[in-house]
Every structure is written in C-alpha cells, then in structure tokens.
C-alpha cells in the first residue's frame, strides 16, 4: 500500500455518498462543458471569414435590416447605379425569399443571385456545380443540406416549384451556409418580384475604405438606402458572442460555487466520521501536513472523477441538444476540444482544492488526544 493508493481508496469508503458527491459536482462540470462546447461552436461558426472576393458592404432599402430583410424592396437598377460611386468595384443584386421546407421551423431562405456573382457571398462549391441562370437549379449551404436531407441530384420544392439540387457550398459563414441560392431571374418570376431586389452586395476596390464608401452610398441616396459594412456585421456578432460568453462564465462560476459547497459538506462529514482515525494516524507519527495532504487529496480525487463523469455528461448532453435542435433547423455545431477538457479538469481541481482545504486544515489541526477521545 502507498500513501497515494490510500488517498485514492479513501473517498469511496462510503460509496453512496461518494457517488452522490461525484454526481453533484459532475452536473456542474457537465454544464460548463456543454456551455463551452456550444459557445465555442457558436464562436467558430460566426467567425466571418472574409475570403477574397466577398462583398464588404450590404445595401438595403432605407429602414431595412441587412440580416433579416426579405422580399423585393429595392429596385434592381441600384445594382447598376451603385457602380458609379467611386471605390465601388462590383455589385450583386440579391433577392431573398422564404419558403416552407421540411426539416425547418421558420422555412428556408432562398437567395436569388446571378450565378457569376456568387463569389461575392464567399460561396465555394464543395460538391457538384453552380446553378445555371434562368433554370430551376439550386445550390444548398453545407449546414442546411443535411437538415433538409438533400444532396446533389435531389429535388426540392421551393415556392411551389420543383428545383434540382446541383451543388453544395461552403462559405465559412454560419448564416450563409444555412441558405439556398438560385438564379435571380427564376426567383423574381416565382415571387412576382420582377426587377426587384432585397439587398445589393457591394465589393469595393482593394485600396478603398469600406466605411467611407458606405457613407458615400448613403449620402448619394439618403432617403432610399441604408448600408451595413462587414466590420459592423462582425462587431454585431462579437457583441452577441460576448453576451453569451458572459452568461456562460456566470453559470460556470455558479457551478463552481455549488460544487465547492457540496464538496466542503462531503469532506467535513468525512472528517467528522473519521476523527478517531485521524487521532490514530497522529498517534502513530503522521505529521499534520500528512493529514492535510490526505484529506485534500481525497477531495481532489472526488472532483477529478466528477470531471471525467461531467465531461462525458456534458458531451452527451450537448450532442443530444444538437440532435434535438438539428431537427428544428439549427445549424450550430458544438465543438469538443482539448481546451474544454483542460478547462473542466482545472475547474474540478479548483473546486477540489477550495472544497477540501478547510476540512483538511481542520483535520490536520486536531490534537491527537482530543481526536482519540471523540465518540
């Protein structure tokens, strides 16, 4: 027998209590792991990778939201007239429409665009080909395709017409990857929006300043157009993410506090029950520091086991949530990383130390005569 094996063995003397303590702490750890996986998934999904060629400015009708606007609210002529603004390199008119689709709750957002301009949305075909203008062909984002249960060659009903899925694309952007793109003219005809757009995606010259050009656009059309730059979009995303991260951190702190109190309770009970035993250990020559290390070690062992259980529970829980939300149309993918495992173990270690330090100190300070008299 070694000192370490004694420390590992001791917490499981009272198996029911040990299991309950581990469960209590592991629920906290599982919450932290699941939240971490989901927020990391959100962060990685929302990191807008502005690949070369992606439009830097989104132009909408005055008062419309660049994220949520749909329908033919802008005249198609803006796609041409905006080219006259200095610094504007290219434009792409996009019409957005929402159609019911099996597997989604709020419907599928279909974007009409000229096929030669899909690069302005950062689209890169990963499977199949791009659609042909004027046809009933559609390409699907890599996140939405599995939700719709569609692949290249499948057919899909959009706005009451049969479309063929000809390609799957990856844009590196969670929002874009959950959309469908088809020919602009096809969508305009289907939605009775001939000559209409929802947004104009604007690509600027490589040495131009997006904010200055956005200002130039709104100055040129003060009552008609609004602009949102990619930086503003990213900032908006960052703002939402920081809110989620703060909430996640607050829940983590709460889990640590609850876990810490739980482990203090368990360890104090254990020290009380073993008072005479601690007296015996001191009587046979154990130092106070040996007792302190033993009790603290037992507390850490409990929390480390809880970390393993918590990581498993958190992983299963977040995957379960993913499976649930997948069926309702969410495209967030929890990310399980080494960083989350390390975070869970560090938190468990902190909880173990915080929860164990007081009972361990108390046990180590027990005078042997008093401990041996304890009934």
């Amino acid at each position: 027998m070694s000192f370490l094996s004694l420390i590992v063995k001791n917490p499981f003397r009272n198996r029911t209590r040990a299991v309950l303590a581990i469960l209590g702490i592991s629920i906290g750890i599982a919450t932290i792991v699941a939240l971490g996986m989901i927020t990391d998934g959100l962060t990685s999904s929302t990191q807008t990778t502005l690949s070369n060629g992606t439009a830097e400015i989104t132009v909408t009708a005055k008062g419309s939201n660049a994220f949520s606007a749909t329908g033919g609210t802008l005249s198609e002529s803006y796609a041409t007239s905006l080219l006259n603004i200095t610094g504007v390199n290219g434009t792409a008119g996009i019409l957005r429409g929402i159609t019911p689709a099996a597997g989604t709750v709020n419907g599928l957002e279909v974007n009409g665009i000229n096929s030669s301009q899909t690069n302005l949305e950062g689209i890169s075909i990963t499977n199949g080909t791009n659609f042909v203008d004027g046809t009933n062909q559609v390409i699907l984002g890599k996140s939405i395709a599995p939700i719709l249960n569609k692949s290249v060659g499948s057919t899909i009903s959009l706005f009451g017409k049969e479309f063929t899925v000809v390609g799957i694309y990856d844009s590196g952007n969670i929002v874009t990857d959950s959309l469908a793109f088809t020919s602009l003219t096809t969508l305009q005809n289907l939605t009775n929006a001939q000559g209409k757009l929802t947004i104009v995606a604007v690509k600027i010259d490589s040495n131009a300043n997006a904010t200055q050009i956005a200002n130039a656009i709104t100055n040129a059309y003060p009552t008609e157009l609004d602009t949102t730059t990619a930086t503003q979009q990213a900032n908006l995303m960052d703002k939402s993410m920081s809110g989620i991260n703060t909430a996640s951190a607050a829940i983590s702190v709460l889990a640590i506090v609850i876990g810490g109190i739980g482990i203090i309770n368990v360890m104090i009970m254990s020290v009380f029950e073993r008072t005479r035993e601690i007296g015996v250990l001191k009587a046979v020559g154990w130092k106070s520091s040996d007792i302190l290390i033993m009790i603290l070690g037992e507390s850490i062992i409990l929390t480390l086991v809880a970390a393993v259980v918590g990581i498993l529970l958190g992983y299963i829980g977040s995957e379960g949530l993913l499976a649930f939300f997948s069926s309702t149309g969410s495209v967030i993918k929890p990310v399980f990383s080494l960083d989350i495992v390390i975070r869970a173990f560090v938190i468990a270690l902190v909880v173990g130390i915080i929860g164990g330090i007081y009972p361990a100190y108390r046990a180590s300070r027990l005078p042997p005569t008093e401990a041996l008299r304890y009934e």
Binding site: M1, S2, F3, L6, K9, N10, R13, R276, E277, G279, V280, L281, K282, A283, V284, G285, W286, K287, S288, D290, P367, P368, T369, L372
Partner: protein, 223 residues
C-alpha cells in the same frame, strides 16, 4: 549510569483553563526494558500521564524525557511518536476499509520504507501474533475479526516501526478474561523478545499485577 528510558519530574498538566488539574507534579522513572502498569481510579490522571509520555500533548510544567528526548522542548513530536512509541488503545482503532495487512503498515506509510519492506515487516509481526489462518486473514477487513484478533492486529501495528516503548491504554478493557490473558501473554512475550519497555494503564488489579512494577496515580500524583 542513568538507564531510565522515561524520566519525569514535577510534571503538571491542566485542562479547561486551569480548572481541571489532571497531573499535579508527577515524578516517575522507568528503566529501559521494564514492564510497568499504571493503576488508579477513574479521573486520577493515568491516561493523561500516558498521553504525556506518548507526546500526544505537551505538559504545562516540569520535565519529561523519553528515550533521551526532551518532550518539553523538542519540536518534532510526530517524528518522536513515529520512531520511539508504539501505542495500543483500549478500542483497537483499526481503519475499517483497509485490510489487516494495510492496517499494520499504516505507521510505515510516511517513512522511507518501500512497499516490499512494509509487507515484509507487517507479515513478520502478524506471524508473531499467533493467528491460525494468517494467509486468509491478512487481506480481510478488520470488521470480520473478533475483538481479540483485532487487538492483536493493533499490537502488530504498534510494533511496526521498531519502537523503544509500547504504551498500552487499557488494552484488555474491552475483552473477556480468556482473551485478556492471551493479549497479556502476547504483550509480555513481545516485551521480552523485542526488549521493549512496556507501560500499561489498567484499572484491573489482576492485569496490573502481571507487570514488573505497578505505579499508582491518585489526584494527578504518583503515590
């Protein structure tokens, strides 16, 4: 030459902020290899005296030297307890979730002994304790043993670090007469074979009479 292994002069110890005087000027000398019993009525201070000799607590006044170590001034009392003293309690105080062998090894855990040395020493002592079914018993938890068997394991544990002195506080107090005599014979045997000094607190005259010398403690003093 002074061959006293325990040398106590004017030892005083009080509790409860001086209101309870447990030891009130104890003078006691015990020679190396001696077997003495300490007797006296309840509350006379005999267990407190044993605790002072075992360095479980420090005295308020007086001098106490045990195995050449001044217990009033030495800082590392735990080291002294580990190396010089073996303690046998009235209630064996074995750790229930550890095996018999592990219980005997407990005092060696914080020494430099390795696992093999610990196993060897513990087995050597358990063999001395005259168990009929030793091989089966060593892996069992002490909860399965009888009172006498548990006390024998506790005696083995007290001897594991080769102490110079065995302190036994009512070691037969919870045993029947037959088992009492068996434990006493065992203690006497170890006392002779290992040449350890044996100090035993008891309130049973028959038990006390088996020592080389009996010391009576009354009102915190040796009479």
């Amino acid at each position: 030459m002074n061959n006293n292994i325990i040398d106590i002069h004017g030892l005083k110890k009080s509790f409860d902020k001086g209101r309870v005087k447990a030891l009130n000027g104890v003078d006691l000398q015990i020679k190396e290899g001696e077997f003495i019993s300490i007797m006296g009525p309840s509350g006379s201070g005999k267990s407190t005296l044993l605790n002072m000799i075992g360095a479980f607590d420090r005295a308020d006044e007086g001098t106490i030297k045990v195995a050449g170590i001044d217990l009033m001034t030495t800082k590392s009392l735990d080291q002294f307890r580990s190396q010089k003293i073996g303690f046998v309690f009235q209630l064996h105080n074995l750790i229930p979730n550890l095996s018999v062998l592990e219980n005997v090894e407990i005092p060696m855990l914080r020494t430099k002994a390795n696992n093999k040395e610990m196993d060897q020493r513990a087995m050597e002592l358990l063999e001395l304790m005259n168990f009929s079914n030793l091989q089966d018993m060593v892996k069992q938890n002490p909860t399965r043993l009888s009172g006498g068997e548990r006390q024998r394991v506790a005696i083995a544990r007290a001897l594991v670090n080769h102490p110079s002195i065995i302190l036994a506080d009512e070691p037969t107090g919870a045993l029947d007469s037959k088992t009492t005599q068996m434990i006493l014979d065992l203690l006497k045997d170890i006392h002779e074979k290992e040449n350890v000094t044996l100090v035993m607190v008891t309130h049973e005259p028959d038990v006390g009479a088996q020592a080389d010398r009996t010391v009576y403690v009354m009102d915190g003093k040796v009479k």
